[in-house]
């Protein structure tokens, strides 16, 4: 659906050249939710803006839905943009228009008749759950409601691709979740391809199928979200993964616990995908003569399965503990002994 080939974007200024995007290659499939994560200045916005021709690559080519966006100009580009919608961090609604009129704007651009527009706008208002606010002005809406208008507006012309530039970064966590759910719902219902950029791993975890990690204009790591969570390669990726799997206090808590236990072993289990739902602990107690104390745990849902870590304390004879740990190892669960008793 989207093909980014050897793309480079260089901004020249008096202070020298900035390689905002540096030799990026990405293929994004139809119906996929693809995330790009990176810190500020990594080049995420520059990259996503090349997908609808708001920026032109210095080198390389960008193809979206069969159109070479990096080549076409004028009317052809404007036509293509009706199929590649975008939503923004700051919503970018027209304050002079009501909700209804804002959603109607792209339809006016596409030359849809007034009667058709009214019908389509009503559908979209229902789809994003804004019934009753049709005639409000943006200034009368909350951030979450504004983004719903942004999404409805982006969907008006039945696009094939939806680009989200930090679409939830201006929202509180709860509102973020509700907007993310809406995006997943739209992805499933309409089969829309979604590309989103963010600096929050939480957003990636919650809705993306695949993720690319960007640093200094390059993609340093890319893969399915679960795979990247399970096995992050780059230091930057590990830091992002820690954002969601390990709460700040985990390390301290575990260190304190180590002080408290004088016998047995403390073990960290890592669950990925299906194994997170298996009754590993139950089996452990049933089959081995050990006591199990759950110390701390966190399980996160991703689009393709769960991911989590669990800290447990095992006590019993040395033999039994060793067998128990071996058993865990055979259950597709990562196991790591934190401290020997």
């Amino acid at each position: 659906m989207i093909s980014i080939k050897n793309v480079r974007k260089i901004y020249s200024s008096r202070q020298g050249n900035v390689h905002a995007v540096d030799n990026v290659n990405v293929e994004i499939n139809e119906g996929e939710i693809f995330g790009v994560i990176g810190y500020s200045g990594a080049g995420k916005s520059t990259l996503i803006r090349m997908l609808n021709g708001l920026e032109l690559p210095t080198e390389g080519s960008v193809t979206v839905a069969g159109r070479v966006v990096s080549k076409i100009r004028g009317g052809e580009l404007r036509k293509a943009r009706q199929e590649i919608s975008m939503i923004f961090q700051h919503f970018n609604l027209l304050w002079s228009r009501t909700v209804r009129e804002n959603i109607s704007f792209p339809l006016e651009i596409a030359g849809v008749t007034r009667k058709e527009r009214t019908k389509r706008v009503d559908e979209l208002i229902k789809l994003v759950g804004l019934e009753g606010r049709e005639d409000s002005y943006p200034s009368q809406l909350s951030g979450g409601q504004k983004q719903r208008v942004g999404i409805a507006r982006a969907l008006a012309n039945n696009p094939k691709v939806l680009l989200c530039d930090e679409a939830t970064s201006a929202l509180d966590p709860q509102t973020t979740d509700s907007i993310l759910e809406l995006l997943v719902d739209i992805n499933k219902r309409l089969g829309l391809t979604i590309v989103l950029i963010t600096h929050e791993m939480h957003v990636i975890r919650k809705i993306c199928h695949r993720v690319a990690v960007m640093e200094n204009g390059r993609i340093v790591e890319m893969g399915s979200v679960l795979e990247v969570f399970k096995n992050p390669q780059q230091p930057i990726t590990k830091r992002f993964v820690q954002q969601v799997t390990e709460p700040e206090e985990t390390k301290e808590t575990v260190e304190q616990l180590i002080e408290q236990y004088h016998s047995g072993e403390i073990v960290q289990l890592t669950f990925v995908g299906g194994s997170a739902e298996q009754p590993v602990i139950t089996n452990l107690i049933r089959h081995f003569d050990v006591t199990v104390n759950i110390l701390q745990g966190k399980i996160s849902q991703t689009q393709s399965g769960s991911y989590g870590t669990l800290f447990i304390h095992l006590d019993g004879s040395k033999d039994e503990i060793a067998k128990a740990i071996e058993f865990i190892g055979t259950q597709q669960v990562g196991v790591e002994v934190i401290r020997n008793g």
Binding site: R81, Q82, F105
Partner: protein, 222 residues
């Protein structure tokens, strides 16, 4: 000289002068609005990082606007005498004031238009682009509606300045209340005529301000 007050006043003459002032103001406001809007849009669109970015054109319009904005109005009238005699045929009467009024006010308004347009969030223009809007759609459906409060309050200020300019133009023969106040009031020492002419001008100014404020607050949904 001990006459009862207001005895000198020729009311039909006063009314005629008032309609002349209103006529000059109305025509020049409409022309200034159109011309200023065009110039202001051009200034904005040819500016840096904008839709029609064009340094030479921007510099030329900008210089033109700055020059005409800086020339004192009374001197502008004199400078434009040749142009006015070609266009209007004479330097007497209310039409004779129009070229100077418009040339004096349009650049002034053009700057206000440009400032109003610059206040529009760049993101909104970008959103329109990302939906596939053409430049004309962006101008008519984004730029103008989104800057409307600034455009209206700008033309209000300009209209009030124009009322003042018509009075000045009146002194050198262009008719209207300024002309009346000068010829009848000042030169013949009829202070009551000057007073009434002043009051009428103030009333016109207050009405313009009042209308401008009402419209601005009605259309501003921010």
């Amino acid at each position: 000289m001990d006459k009862p007050y207001f005895q000198d006043i020729d009311w039909p003459g006063m009314w005629a002068a008032t309609t002349e002032t209103l006529y000059m103001t109305a025509i020049s406001v409409v022309a200034t609005f159109i011309l200023g809007l065009l110039l202001g849009l051009l200034l904005f669109l040819t500016g840096k990082d904008n839709l029609w970015e064009n340094k030479p054109v921007n510099t030329i319009i900008s210089a033109f606007v700055n020059i005409f904005r800086s020339i004192p109005f009374i001197i502008l009238i004199v400078l434009l005498i040749p142009l006015t005699t070609i266009l209007v045929g004479s330097m007497i009467g209310e039409n004779a004031a129009l070229p100077a009024l418009i040339v004096g006010a349009a650049p002034f308004y053009a700057r206000m238009v440009e400032i109003g347009l610059r206040e529009i969030d760049k993101g909104v223009i970008e959103a329109a682009k990302s939906m596939g809007a053409s430049t004309s759609t962006i101008i008519f459906k984004v730029l103008l509606p989104e800057s409307m409060p600034a455009l209206v309050s700008g033309i209000t200020v300009t209209a009030i300045a124009l009322v003042g300019y018509t009075a000045m133009a009146g002194v050198i023969g262009a008719g209207g209340l300024g002309n009346l106040a000068y010829l009848e009031g000042y030169q013949r020492s009829q202070n009551d005529v000057t007073l009434i002419a002043t009051i009428i001008i103030l009333i016109i100014v207050f009405i313009i301000q009042f209308l401008g404020d009402i419209i601005t607050s009605k259309i501003d949904k921010r």
